[in-house]
Assembly symmetry: C3
Homo-oligomer: 334 residues x 3
């Protein structure tokens, strides 16, 4: 791709040779001829000055440090995101239903959509324009997949669940399985989970992530939510617009998470809580109470050598006793 065309597509100011050919992206430290790279902050000033990259996307504040070909962006990381699709375009399967897919007669599949080999599309399913259903997907009765959405191979969507437009779901994700609802009466008696999972537009769902259907009402994932791999979202959870959740997070039933939150990896949130908009949780946070104020929260333990940690472990096991000893000292002091 010619650098001039790229600058135009990204709407960036170009310095250097508009006819220069860039072929792929590369990190600024290891990039070479023909590579496009980017820097987002002055921490990479030296790498920028020494780079062998064919062209670099830089913030305005670093333009004076750039040599050769460069593109000036108000947000180099977002420009890099855009460039990633232009330099390595996504490949698409051909439209149409694969001859080895099993599609129910009542399903409505857009002629521009693609259904992969061995996928099963049950009754009354709707698949929108240009949607792509990969190989080995199973869409239950009444499922709705919006336009431009892409399900990679081996995604399960249980009956009646809906995904909006421009969603992207990685392999192994399970949407709409029965939530963990039981009454105990002479053994555990399952409660029929009759709600759905309702997913908005531009939602990303990672590999092997699970989102359970609601018990009575629906589990709701709003527009623009991004979910990493191996996340567990229980029944009746709601996740607000543009919230980002990193891998291995667990969210228990009926918890509502606000918009624009960022949930760090391996965090766990117990059930029936309310998390305000704009909450940021560091990795491995454990949330056992509702959070009413936006801000950044943490609860991760420090790592220690195991020999040190054994002592810490003992003190932690008797922490309340330690508090009492301090209190006793304070009383004597008085």
């Amino acid at each position: 791709m010619k650098l001039g065309d790229l600058a135009q597509a990204l709407k960036l100011e170009l310095h250097g040779d508009a006819s220069y050919q860039v072929t792929k992206l590369a990190p600024v430290a290891s990039a070479g001829d023909g590579d496009l790279s980017f820097v987002v902050s002055s921490r990479l000033t030296r790498e920028l000055q020494q780079t062998q990259a064919g062209a670099v996307i830089v913030p305005a504040s670093m333009a004076s440090q750039a040599n050769g070909n460069y593109l000036v962006s108000s947000d180099p990381y977002a420009s890099y995101a855009q460039a990633s699709w232009l330099l390595t375009p996504e490949t698409f399967p051909l439209p149409g239903v694969h001859k080895l897919a099993q599609v129910h007669a009542s399903a409505r599949i857009s002629p521009s959509a693609s259904i992969g080999a061995y996928s099963v599309v049950n009754a009354n399913v709707f698949v929108g324009d240009n949607a792509i259903i990969g190989e080995h997907c199973v869409l239950g009765t009444g499922v709705r997949i919006g336009a431009q959405s892409r399900l990679f191979a081996r995604v399960c969507v249980y009956h009646e669940c809906e995904l909006g437009n421009e969603c992207r779901v990685q392999s192994g994700a399970v949407i709409g399985a029965e939530g963990f609802g039981f009454a105990f009466a002479n053994g555990w008696q399952a409660i029929h989970q009759t709600g759905r999972v309702m997913i908005g537009n531009k939602v990303h769902i990672g590999a092997n992530t699970t989102i359970d259907r609601g018990a009575i009402e629906d589990t709701i994932i709003e527009d623009g939510v991004i979910l990493d791999n191996q996340i567990q979202i229980a029944h009746n959870v709601r996740i607000g617009k543009n919230t980002a959740i990193a891998g291995c997070v667990g969210i228990a039933g009926s918890t509502h998470i606000g918009a624009n939150c960022q949930i760090g990896g391996a965090s766990n949130i117990v059930g029936h809580l309310r998390i305000a908009d704009g909450v940021v949780l560091n990795a491995t946070s454990f949330v056992s109470q509702s959070i009413e104020k936006p801000g950044r929260y943490s609860s991760g333990m420090p790592l220690q050598s195991s020999s040190e940690w054994k002592r810490t472990f003992v003190v932690l096991s008797k922490l309340n006793e330690l508090l009492k000893r301090v209190r006793r000292l304070e009383r004597r002091e008085e």
Copy 2:
């Protein structure tokens, strides 16, 4: 469904109009005409008094607060569980082997069982009466699935593993994969995992949960155990009758968990431990020693604002030093 018929099916005392038609379940606060709702405790007295629900299941202690149609139950939550299946009956595929399933000639499939599209049923498999094997399941050689059990789409059961009657397994579950057993000798040498997974009756297994086969002896899940999503159960684990395990729990190899335990979400239990009957673990418990007494246990960290937590983190990192300082103060005191 007529309220009178429902009351009869649930064996509950009806107050109000037996000919009233209820069509679905709804939460007491948002229910409307034609909806059946329930309350379990006096915490919802106001909601009960103000509800627009067509009928409500109430405990005897709250019957005097109920208006209109209501059903009196000694366990409203259990009655709700029963009602959930009556008001929204489960839908079943037709009995028989789907024309796109691949069933080995030696497999014994009950004529009342159903095998879904693209499922693979290997040699010497047994599938009992009214059992349902969803689409894309893979049953290894010699697998046994008891009567009335239902596997949703895309469940894998490795060779020789057995499930009892009335089990329910959600999509993506993997039963009987090879456990993590290796000896180190010029690199890691795998140990052939020759045990099985033996699962009792009325066991529920959540989406993307994994249960490894035993190394020599079997991994055992007893009757009535309920497992949520994304649980990892390692080889040689045993889980006692009616134990409930919430999502994202990990149980390491050869640990035995008693009957009637409740393991909170994201808890982790190390290997070779014994957990007594009736142990309750709160969410994110870390169990590194056997638990001999029933009771409730916890180990989760408190969440703090990240600025506070940074200070806590430093104190935690030097907790043993803090203990020493208190000791020194105490000695001086004396």
Copy 3:
């Protein structure tokens, strides 16, 4: 199998009857006639003396305690690992492409390899000698599976990813899904993940484990790495030779882990860190900083009865205040 033949295959010194027939492995405490067992340390001396096993593998140091038939090994656990495959040989599907598999014309499949029912092998895939691709696997365009590798049913490998020789991948694993890379600009904008996953030789990957493809460069798993179930490995991670990782571990993006590490179950490692060779992490370790020295590390919380833990929780929530109180006491002391 005759004990003499087994001794020869394992290269062990045999004491007892070379013509004795052993049929299976069993634990030393429960083994009976015809069973082979093993002991690794003097902790099992009593069990060894009382065992009913037909034969036992013992370390030289315990040979004097053994009765009847026994094999002397410098590493009984490794000998047991070898014996496990000899006494219960693995069963293999027949070579060839199953008639219900879908293989692209451009794929190069060794005649000695096996492709299972309903598997999809896309364009330009290479599958080496004696490799086994189970049922329901999906191999994306350009995937390479080395000789002797075995993928169990329902493994997904995205386009361009490569596995070396003698790898073993359990069901539900997803290799090469798109990593969690987004820029925020009027909503989250995905970054096209154009790197691959490159996996060495003799790598084991557990059930439902996910390994994301690199953003620009590759995610790399070196030779001899063993990964348990439900592990999440994010984009651009590197894992060094012979490192072992237990179940439910999460490793965030761009972290590099050295060789010969052992990562305990449910540990979590944040992104962009460097972990030295030979680091051992106990279960549930939380790693938020790089680790430069080999050794054993921990960070798990102690478990307490919930009533005790409530008090601990309060002290932990005010730990910094406790430190201040101790400081105040110390100042007064002076």
